[in-house]
Subunit: 320 residues, 2 copies
Amino acid sequence: MAVYTEIAEDDLAAFLEGFDLGRATAFKGIAEGVSNSNYLLETDKGRFILTVYEPARSNEADLPYFLGLMDHLAHHGFPSAKPVADRRGATLGRIAGKPAAIVEFLPGLSVKKPTHDQRRSAGAGLAWLHQAAEGFPMRRANNLGQHYWTAQFAPLVGEADKLKPGLSKTIQNDLALLEKQWPSGLPFGPIHADFFPDNVFFNGPLFAAAIDFYFACDDFLAFDVAVALNAWCFEADGSFNLTAARAFLHGYESRRPLTAAEKDALPILAHGAAMRFFLTRLEDWGATPAGALVKPHDPLEYERKLAVHREGLHLFDGPA
Amino acid sequence: MAVYTEIAEDDLAAFLEGFDLGRATAFKGIAEGVSNSNYLLETDKGRFILTVYEPARSNEADLPYFLGLMDHLAHHGFPSAKPVADRRGATLGRIAGKPAAIVEFLPGLSVKKPTHDQRRSAGAGLAWLHQAAEGFPMRRANNLGQHYWTAQFAPLVGEADKLKPGLSKTIQNDLALLEKQWPSGLPFGPIHADFFPDNVFFNGPLFAAAIDFYFACDDFLAFDVAVALNAWCFEADGSFNLTAARAFLHGYESRRPLTAAEKDALPILAHGAAMRFFLTRLEDWGATPAGALVKPHDPLEYERKLAVHREGLHLFDGPA
């Protein structure tokens, strides 16, 4: 949610010369994205988003995967922003020395308080994304996946206990459990990996688009569902809204039914998905100086979600 | 340059119900404005900017003056964003409990490194603004004007000396000089008061629009010129570019010739205009916690401009 890079007019003009988009007629930094700077760009040819990747927060080697996936999805009918190729056919260029890309502007509104109808529609949108991504040939390991969590937590033990005395022991127990019970052999492929409400656009109650593919990677498709359940189905007080979860899952299954193994694995995947966001938030929390005007996300939000998953979820038993 | 308020979708929908603008189809926080939050708002009827005024940084009683001036300017042909009236005819409303207004979207690009042609065109734009503002019936005293500076500096003496040992004494000498030599009886009326490059849009080399009227007030028109000379005509190393100043002034005078008294007063007005920005920057500097991610503007930039003005400017002698 920040604009990090200031783009000078001559850098913008030089960058646009590589494209067949005409001259810039408007250019405004927008509060979207966390690891890059985004600008509304209007030219004689239409409206676009210019994204400048911050070297400190993005691995340049990953950018072709992200842009390639967005391009693949758009070419397979999924509403994600289509990267615009320059005159040489490349979607990744450089502006003011930093990697940058132009994508098409997508209309739509993200919601802060989704309705059950919107959850159902978002679930169907995520299944659509998984289907449209089939056949995408590039590969990117999930570097925030289960294999990395124990090593990621090791330097954060003190930070965890500072947040809440004794918390590090609980987290270590969680990590051991996740290691032991983590599934294998589930349907696998490109996932969004950050399918939160602020990365989904609606047109009224209907799913309109997904944005921000900068955590996309290859992992279990059901892990993507698990990340989304954590993001879309908890109340502000930390309680899990089962009706919300069923709405999301019904929407998902309306396009892509989950296998029995995926259904069985969802509770542990959701526990792990909560761990993934707890760990990065704990990292960011420790790295932010006291008194900073930009507050990182509260890791305790995900600590409360971990506590819910420790009790176990029963998503598919009982009446629908 | 920040989005302070997060607007929930139901608050936006409720606010838009008061207008004849249709439904929101896109909504994005943009990095424009310092004392308020700005959003790109697209509806079935067009593109707009929604501004939410932060109570901590704006005096609500001043908002009718700002919006009234923008409306007056737009009705008199000047390219400033026209406020959109709601169904009751009001331009100032409330969203999520905060004052808010919708204005028309203006195309154009602000520049970080203006050319002399752009300075000339910006000067003509400022004169146009002064002419179009004639007859605007509301009044707002300049609460950052010369009468207030001595009182404003009193609590900042220690801060000044912390910035640079002995600086407080120099500033007090400046303040005494400004008090003694401040002009009177110059042409007076509504001024923009913050006519910096980031508040001016161009279309190529041509002035396209002025934005951000949230410091507008009534003062000497030539004080507005003086603020602009400081903002448009200094090099990054602190030196004053006389050619740049002449370009700006020639542009201004192409629409509204300065009186002899205004020309005589410009050096002291420019000295005072540097003081006005030095003082607010010094205030903001002292009020910002160490380690904050959002850095305030450097007061030393304006301390260097004060030093230039102490030597005196000779704007109109010599060859044009």
